[in-house]
């Protein structure tokens, strides 16, 4: 299939990525090659085959319903680029 600008723009937006004009050209070519490569799967008849969803042999792995702590607030915030000491900070969401 042909990979056009609209497809790249849509996918970049969904993936929260951005590409400048020259990057876009090269990623377009790469993606076209990659999609062509995986299209080979279409040659195989898989009618009636259940998709494999889980790799682990374990099912219903449950534990007792006992509340447990996780990491402390200090630890959780320790690697954040910007915090106010209590919360993670993001750029202002609601603008005037």
């Amino acid at each position: 299939m042909e990979v056009n600008d609209a497809l790249i723009d849509n996918l970049s937006n969904l993936a929260r990525l951005e590409f400048n004009a020259s990057e876009k050209e090269s990623i377009k070519k790469d993606l076209e090659k990659m999609i062509h490569f995986v299209e080979k799967l279409g040659e195989l008849d898989t009618t009636g085959v259940e998709p494999l969803l889980h790799m682990s042999p374990e099912i219903n792995v449950l534990r007792e319903d006992i509340p447990q702590g996780s990491v402390s607030r200090e630890a959780a915030l320790s690697c954040a680029p910007v915090t106010d000491g209590q919360y993670f900070e993001v750029p202002k969401v609601i603008r005037k």
């Binding site: 990525l17 085959v49 494999l52 889980h54 682990s56 042999p57 690697c79 910007v82 750029p91």
Partner: protein, 444 residues
């Protein structure tokens, strides 16, 4: 020390020498006092830089994690520390374990110690070279599509990928969660077995680990095996004829020694790399969504961005090219209109592969394949063509798609001067047989 002299190999991203020396002194002291020794007492171990070690940086060889410091230990790390291992440092790799040559690292490429103009393989290139060059005794890597077995093959050492669900993935940075396993590099089967025994087993933080005791291998009397190989794999046009010849000659020797060898048809071979790339990129696009510049990791310096633009800028500046490529392909195969044709289709192919594999193991103990179609290639040789790089994984992704354990056994030398191995696989959770077989084949 050796690691400093071998710095040009670029195997380590960080070395914890002071800490390691202090730990060694403490262990010496305790031993003298007669304290019982742990199973890994004083064993010097390197970690791929995707395995969390509390209070130490962890980068996945990516800019996006450049200032990250782990706030907990991976379960495998906890278990090794409990057995008195010395963790010497974090090892270089391809960014987020995506690559087959260790050329995609924010910390630069790693060189093969056997020939410095060649790649060490990937993605766990640093982990392989560290063991190859004696910069640690054993090391851990991670194997999503061959990232332990292929670099072991390129560096002339042992590399084991355990069964999916054998070793806890807690604290392993996720690439493709239904494929990832922590794997082991070493020179001897005894070392592989001991480390596996320590890091395997149930973990309340990873529900996919099988509820079974860790496998314990002890040298056993020689056994006769029923061995299969895939005709299509040995006849593949991309396979180096010298590798093909070496493996066929060796299997003939095994036959004469009383093992059963049979060439079987495996008509699905051509579909395994495409199925692998659909499923792993899909899982990666989801797993890597967590890197948002808010909770940890790199955050764009650009100010006054709207929130969505802020995420896009941060991620685009933080991730390298191969990672972005794979996220985009994964987003494509999961997107509306393409989901069934690509993602569901690949899951169906995965089902067929598992069914076929289970049938094979009704009649055979071991499957033999090459580990890689060529020996280590020259640095830069495959950087321009992602597909050429992906096809280098043709023999290794099979074990990750089906979940079975696989090992690369270093048995051969090529006329180009590079080592190579053969890959052996058994049925699920049958590592003890796999280790016994490998040990036997290395003795001959």
């Amino acid at each position: 020390m050796a690691i400093e002299q071998q710095q040009p190999l670029n195997a380590y991203i960080r070395v914890y020498s002071k800490e390691a020396l202090a730990k060694a002194r403490l262990l010496d002291q305790q031993r003298k006092e007669g304290k019982p020794m742990g199973k890994l007492h004083g064993v010097v171990i390197g970690l791929k830089d995707v395995i969390a070690y509390k209070d130490h940086p962890l980068t996945a060889a990516s800019h996006i994690l450049q200032d990250y410091v782990s706030i907990y230990n991976a379960t495998a790390v906890d278990k090794m520390l409990a057995e008195e291992a010395i963790l010497i440092g974090h090892l270089n790799c391809d960014e987020f374990a995506m690559g087959s040559s260790n050329e995609n690292s924010a910390y630069g490429k790693v060189l093969n110690a056997r020939c410095n103009s060649r790649v060490p393989g990937g993605s766990s290139g640093g982990s392989a070279v560290a063991v190859q060059a004696g910069l640690c005794m054993v090391s851990l890597g991670s194997d999503t599509g061959g990232s332990v077995r292929q670099p072991a093959d390129f560096c002339g050492i042992l590399g084991l990928k355990p069964t999916y669900g054998r070793v806890s993935r807690y604290g392993l940075i996720a690439y493709a969660s239904s494929f990832d396993q922590i794997g082991i590099f070493a020179h001897t089967i005894g070392d592989v077995a001991l480390l596996l025994e320590v890091i395997a087993g149930v973990d309340e933080f990873d529900s996919t680990v099988k509820k079974e005791k860790a496998p314990v291998w002890k040298e056993a009397p020689d056994q006769k095996y029923r061995i299969a190989y895939f005709k299509e794999a040995l006849d593949h046009p991309g396979l180096d004829p010298e590798i093909r010849e070496a493996i066929l000659t060796r299997t003939e020797q095994w036959r004469q020694a009383g093992h059963t060898i049979e060439a079987i048809d495996f008509e699905l071979l051509g579909y395994i790399v495409p199925a692998y790339y659909v499923l792993t990129t899909a899982e990666a696009s989801s797993n890597l969504a967590r890197f948002d510049g808010v909770r940890y990791g790199y955050r764009t310096k650009d100010k006054d961005l709207e929130l969505t633009e802020f995420y896009k800028r941060t991620r685009s500046e933080g991730f390298g090219r191969e990672v972005k490529r794979r996220i985009l392909l994964g987003t494509f195969v999961l997107s509306a209109g393409y989901y069934d044709a690509y993602f569901t289709k690949a899951q169906q192919v995965r089902q067929l592969l598992v069914e076929r594999t289970n049938l094979i193991f009704k009649n055979f103990d071991i499957i033999i394949l090459p580990t890689a179609p060529t020996t280590a290639w020259r640095i830069g040789e495959k950087m321009d063509d992602p597909i050429a790089m992906y096809l280098a994984d043709i023999y290794t992704v099979y074990a990750n798609l089906t979940g079975i354990p696989g090992i690369s056994i270093p048995l051969f030398g090529h006329t180009n001067g590079m080592p190579f191995g053969v890959q052996a696989m058994t049925s699920h959770f049958n590592e003890v047989s796999l280790l016994q077989f490998s040990h036997q084949m290395m003795q001959q």
